[in-house]
Structure formats: structure tokens, C-alpha cells
């Protein structure tokens, strides 16, 4: 009978991790729907970027208030995992505070977790105030209505409850330690929960034990549930920010890809020895589609970007088009990409792993032409992103599809392109007049 809690715990742990692993597999499959891209270059630069941007949070502090609050929650999250490790070991082995042999260092650890837990509670509360009371403009964009807003708040509530449970657990434990209850060996230091413990003084030992056990079980169950919530939430960024900053763009921001498929065609066109009447190779693969109209046309890094986006809206709040009331919102581009990718993934799940065309695509059904043409390619969104997401690259790929596959550019742009083609300048001036300015006074 003594082993029942241990067995229950093991089942809970395995179920929690298995379900998470299943979703991670789905996540990886979905990301791999994207086109391959070589990311083996600039290895040291990539590691540096990850260390600086994801680990070091350098881009978060560009906006100091949310930046510092975020760092508190982030450090709290990372460090508290040591505590989770202890909880897992205690749960499996039926021990209590298994790391307590560390003595003074253990006390230091527990004390710092407590202080961090309190700071996280404060930070989460302030985040909630920013979202719901102060109502910052970037949280009120049209794309933030409904689930994204609820998701944002849910995460804060869960983190709040988890921290309160952690402190309650410690407080009850501390009280039991004071009372010299067997099993509750004196270990740890409790700078925060010692102030909660007196609340339990009047309670019977068995009640405090129930309280301690309840908080302990709810805390670890909550953590496992939160882990599984990630896949359905923007909160996935806590895992994906790291690979995303590693695989993010390492070239200058102004450097856009030169499409290889186009280079081949252009070289052929310019090659004087090419036979214009040559019959196409019968075994040749069908010509590649230019640009992107759906998620499968994007590169996998762009799809990883979409899953990494945490909808903070720093991109959109810096976007000159959005600032001046135009429909474009880089955040919406990323959210649309993820929503469509999820839709494609669900379609595959329902059809034995094969995508059955559903008459929809990212372009048009999610992202409108108007949004795409409003972009000035200024890279403000890319610069603003704290986790190296590149919404601009998706916008550009879709413009390429519009122009090269559908000839659907705005007519003014067609004029401009016609001028370049005919005169070598975007304006209708003759190339032979290109030096006239030197003779004008």
C-alpha cells in the first residue's frame, strides 16, 4: 500500500511526458512540411546569436519594463526546474527533499526559489495589469481578439497559481518541520513562506500534512499540465526561442535570397549557346513554383518562426504601415502562418498522414493582398522581434508568388517594372539620357 503514491506519480509523470512527446512529434512533422534550407553556415555566429538573444535576453530589454519583468519570470522558470527535479525524484522514490544533503547550499537554493517565486508573482501580476487594466495598444490589435487574448491571460493565471502552490507547499512543510513531524526533516530556508506558515499554526498536524501533500501534488500536476498546454499556446516560445534564434537570419537584414530556380532560367536566357528550340527534357521535374501561396511553399525556418511567435506585437508596434493605420500587421502574418500550418497538420492527422487539398491556402484565405502590398520592406519588424523571427521573408515570398505566378501586382508596380524592363529605370526615361544631368547647369 505504501507504494501507491509512488506508482500513481509514475503513471502521472509518464502520461504527462508521453502526451507532450506526441505533440512534439506532430510539431516537428508540421515544421518539416516546409522546404529545406541550408543552415549549416555561420555556426559560431549562430551559437553566439542564441546565447545572446535567447539565453541572454538582450532584445527583451530594448523595452526595459516588460524586459526586466520577463527576465524575472524567465530566470524563475529556469531555476525552478531544479526544484521540479527534486519533486520528481521525491515522487518516484517516496523521499522528502532528497537534495537536502547539500546542507547550506540546499538552504540557499530553496531560499532563492522562494524569492524568485515571489518576484514571479509580482511580475505576472504586473503583466496582467498591462494586458487588462492599462490596455497597451499592441495587445488590442484586431488579431488579438478571442483566443490570443484568452491564451495570454491563461498563461499568467497558471503561472500565478503554480507559484502560489509552490509557496503554500513550502509554508506547510516549514510548519511541519517546526513541529518535528516525522518524515519532514528540517531542511531548506524559507524567507518567503515562513510568513505564510503562521496561518497554519492552529491546524492539526494531519491537516497540515494534507495541505502540504495537496499543494505538492497540485504543483507537480499543474506543471505537467502546463507542459502539455504549451503546444496549444503561444507559450511554446519558451522552448522554441532557442532553436529559432540559432536558425534565424545571419546575413545582413537587407540581403534577400536570390531564387536559385530563377538564376537557372536567367542564365539560360543569357547564354548565347543555348538552343532556343531545344525540346524540354522529358524526365525533367515539373518547374518549381515561384514564391509562396501556402505554408508548404515556405522554408521550414519560416514555419519554425511561426510556432515560435509569442504574439508580443513588438513587430507590429514598430511597423510603419501598421503605425499609419494600414491593414498590415507582421504579427498577424506569423499568427496566420501558424494557424494555417495547424490546419494543414490536422488535415493530415485526419487523413492518415496525407494532406488532402481543402480548397484553402495561406494567401487569400488568411493573408490578403492588401496586407502584402502595404509592406515597405523596412525590416523594423525583424529588428524588433526579441526571438529572431522574420515576418518580412514570408511577405516577400508571397509577393513573389503574386507577381511571378499570378501577374497580380498593383498596376502602378506593373508600370514601374515595365519601365525597368524597357528603359533600365523605374521611370519612363530613356537609358541613353542617363548622363544628361552632367551637362545641365
Amino acid at each position: 500500500m505504501d507504494y501507491i503514491p509512488n506508482i500513481l506519480f509514475a503513471i502521472l509523470l509518464i502520461a504527462g511526458i508521453a502526451f507532450f512527446a506526441k505533440n512534439v512529434k506532430k510539431l516537428i512533422r508540421n515544421i518539416k512540411l516546409g522546404k529545406p534550407v541550408d543552415t549549416s553556415d555561420h555556426t559560431s555566429q549562430r551559437w553566439r546569436n542564441m546565447a545572446r538573444i535567447a539565453l541572454g535576453q538582450t532584445k527583451m530589454v530594448v523595452r526595459p519594463i516588460p524586459g526586466i519583468l520577463h527576465i524575472i519570470v524567465y530566470v524563475g522558470f529556469i531555476i525552478i526546474n531544479i526544484e521540479v527535479l527534486e519533486i520528481v525524484l521525491d515522487g518516484l522514490l517516496g523521499t522528502h527533499r532528497i537534495f537536502s544533503f547539500l546542507g547550506g547550499f540546499y538552504s540557499f537554493l530553496i531560499a532563492s526559489f522562494e524569492i524568485l517565486a515571489l518576484l514571479v508573482i509580482v511580475a505576472v501580476f504586473l503583466f496582467w495589469v498591462r494586458r487588462n487594466i492599462i490596455k497597451l495598444k499592441r495587445f488590442l490589435n484586431p488579431e488579438m481578439a478571442g483566443w490570443p487574448k484568452k491564451d495570454g491571460n491563461l498563461i499568467l493565471y497558471i503561472e500565478f497559481v503554480l507559484m502560489v502552490l509552490f509557496l503554500t507547499m513550502n509554508a506547510a512543510d516549514y510548519q511541519l518541520q517546526q513541529m518535528d513531524v516525522a518524515h519532514y526533516t528540517k531542511a531548506g530556508a524559507f524567507p518567503v513562506s515562513q510568513f505564510i506558515a503562521p496561518l497554519f499554526q492552529e491546524m492539526s498536524i494531519s491537516s497540515i500534512i494534507v495541505l502540504e501533500r495537496t499543494a505538492w501534488w497540485l504543483h507537480i500536476t499543474g506543471i505537467l499540465m502546463f507542459l502539455n498546454y504549451l503546444y496549444y499556446s503561444k507559450h511554446l516560445h519558451i522552448l522554441l526561442a532557442f532553436p529559432n534564434t540559432y536558425f534565424g537570419k545571419v546575413r545582413p537584414k537587407g540581403q534577400f535570397n536570390n531564387l536559385d530556380s530563377v538564376t537557372k532560367e536567367v542564365k539560360l536566357m543569357m547564354d548565347p549557346t543555348a538552343d532556343p528550340f531545344a525540346a524540354p527534357d522529358e524526365n525533367a521535374a515539373p518547374p518549381e513554383k515561384f514564391g509562396a501561396s501556402d505554408v508548404m511553399d515556405l522554408e521550414w525556418v519560416q514555419l519554425l518562426n511561426a510556432y515560435t511567435c509569442t504574439e508580443c506585437g513588438r513587430c507590429t508596434s514598430e511597423c510603419p504601415a501598421n503605425l499609419t493605420g494600414k491593414k498590415l500587421s507582421p504579427r498577424k502574418i506569423m499568427m496566420d502562418t501558424r494557424d494555417r500550418l495547424e490546419e494543414v497538420g490536422k488535415n493530415m492527422d485526419a487523413n492518415k498522414g496525407v494532406f488532402v487539398p481543402d480548397g484553402k491556402q495561406l494567401l487569400g484565405d488568411y493573408i490578403s493582398h492588401e496586407e502584402l502590398w502595404a509592406c515597405t520592406t523596412c525590416n523594423a519588424c525583424v529588428e524588433a522581434c526579441p526571438v529572431s523571427i522574420d515576418p518580412l521573408s514570408i511577405i516577400m515570398d508571397m509577393r513573389q508568388y503574386l507577381v511571378m505566378e499570378q501577374s497580380a501586382a498593383p498596376s502602378d508596380l506593373n508600370n514601374m517594372m515595365g519601365n525597368i524592363e524597357n528603359n533600365g529605370a523605374p521611370w519612363p526615361f530613356n537609358q541613353m539620357d542617363r548622363l544628361n544631368w552632367s551637362k545641365e547647369s
Binding site: V262, V266, K326, T376, M416, W427, N436, W437, E440
Partner: protein, 263 residues
């Protein structure tokens, strides 16, 4: 002062068996746009004064393809790029200077992948180098104490991390450099990039150049300095919209220097 501009072409120098140190890539705006032509001439005056051995391509130059690429027409871009690269490689061009950040970015970053490898500098970087090597000296008398704010062109700043060269030059004019609310890596676009120059903006509640001009006006400048012919046009229009054209001048860094030097 001398109104005669010395503008040698690559073809002329080649015929004479000479090779210039640097190719000045004028760009379409610099060649055809009335306002931008003044920037081109100002820069040529400085090059002449500093006795720089340079040349232009003249009628052999063609659009870099930047607006076509940003509009999504990769075909047209690569056709332009390959043609330009053939011309420049035939002249064995090594170093290029340009006053247009869009040409600068495209030739510097996107031409190498298509066979065009050159050292490319923006004219503000080039001018800074001339100043440091003593080939030009700046007497900023005219601009002493004037409030000058610099509008960062996206394709120079964020796209290529060039922030300090233009600012160093403004400081050398003894002017008071004042920064707008959004500057350097967080600079706000003028609204012309990404081929927007050639189309009507999408529906919104304001034009981008007006928003940017308002940011500039907030710091009460005498001069809005720019380093891009398109930014120049957009900011000039913005200043006109705000009826400030009598009190605020929009000038390229090259024009500031040419004026200071009384060229």
C-alpha cells in the same frame, strides 16, 4: 566657383587605357529625378575637389533591380543584376560608391551570389574616409549651431548597420545633431522602400512620410539630413504637407558638405 563638373565615364577611361579607383554608381534617382540630380552633382563636386580618380557608367548603367526584387519580380531583378554585373566585370570594377542605399544594399549583398563581387561603400562612408585621410576638410561655418536631425534610411541603417558615418559628418559641420524619437536601429521608414515609391499607399489613416516628418518636426530641426534620394523626396513632401518648407530644409549629407565647402 567652378561650375564645370568633371564626370569621366568608364568607357572614356577604358578607351584611354585607364582604370579609375572607384566607380560612382549614380542610380536611377540620381540620374533622372530633379531633386536627386542635385545630390549627384554635389557629390561629384566633392569628388572633383578631392581629386578622386573616379568614373561613372553613364548610359551603360541600368537599374540595379532593387524595386523589381522588392516588388516580388525576381526574374526582372536577376536579369538586371546579371546585365549590370557583366558590364562591371568587363571593366574590372573593384570598388563602387553610391549615394543610394537601395543600390548600395543590392550591389553589396545580392550581386555577389550572381557573380558580382565588389567593395561597395555608401557615399557617407566614402566621405567620412575622405575627411579622415585629409582629402577634404570641412569648414562647417554655415551650419554652426544649426539643429540637424538625421533620418536613417532603412537600407543603410537597419539593413546594413551603417549608422555612424553620416552622424560623424554632421558633427564635423559643427552642427548640433539632434535625434528623433525613432532613430538608428529603430528608425522609422520614410515610406518609399519596398517599391512603395511607385505606387499609391494602401488605405490607412496617414501617410508614412507624414508620420516620419512629424517625428522630425518634434525635435525642431533647421535641417533634416538624409542619405537616400528616396528618403529625401519623401521627407521634402512631408515638410511641404506640414507647411514648414520655409523653416526646415531637407538636405543630403553630400549637399551639406558641398554647401559648407562652398562648392
Amino acid at each position: 566657383m567652378g561650375n564645370e563638373l568633371k564626370v569621366p565615364t568608364m568607357a572614356e577611361l577604358f578607351a584611354a587605357g585607364q582604370q579609375p579607383e572607384v566607380l560612382f554608381w549614380v542610380g536611377c534617382a540620381g540620374s533622372f529625378d530633379d531633386r536627386a540630380k542635385k545630390i549627384t552633382k554635389a557629390f561629384i563636386k566633392i569628388l572633383n575637389k578631392a581629386k578622386i580618380n573616379f568614373a561613372v557608367l553613364g548610359t551603360e548603367e541600368s537599374c540595379t533591380g532593387d524595386p523589381a526584387k522588392r516588388a516580388g519580380n525576381e526574374f526582372l531583378f536577376q536579369m538586371q543584376a546579371v546585365t549590370n554585373i557583366e558590364v562591371m566585370n568587363a571593366y574590372e570594377v573593384k570598388k563602387i560608391v553610391t549615394a543610394c542605399p537601395h543600390c548600395f544594399n543590392t550591389i553589396k549583398n545580392e550581386y555577389p551570389g550572381l557573380g558580382g563581387n565588389y567593395e561597395v561603400v555608401h557615399h557617407t562612408q566614402f566621405l567620412k574616409h575622405l575627411l579622415e585621410s585629409g582629402k577634404i576638410s570641412m569648414e562647417g561655418g554655415q551650419f554652426k549651431g544649426k539643429r540637424i536631425t538625421f533620418h536613417d534610411p532603412c537600407y543603410l541603417g537597419r539593413a546594413n548597420n551603417v549608422y555612424e558615418a553620416p552622424r560623424d559628418l554632421i558633427r564635423k559641420l559643427d552642427a548640433e545633431l539632434v535625434e528623433m524619437k525613432s532613430c538608428k536601429s529603430r528608425g522609422l521608414c520614410c515610406g518609399a522602400g519596398g517599391a512603395q515609391m511607385w505606387k499609391e499607399p494602401e488605405k490607412g489613416n496617414k501617410d508614412i512620410n507624414v508620420e516620419r516628418t512629424e517625428q522630425a518636426i518634434e525635435v525642431k530641426p533647421d535641417i533634416i539630413a538624409a542619405g537616400c534620394p528616396f528618403c529625401n523626396t519623401m521627407m521634402t513632401d512631408g515638410v511641404k504637407t506640414k507647411d514648414k518648407e520655409t523653416s526646415i530644409a531637407v538636405m543630403d549629407i553630400a549637399e551639406l558638405i558641398a554647401t559648407a565647402e562652398d562648392l
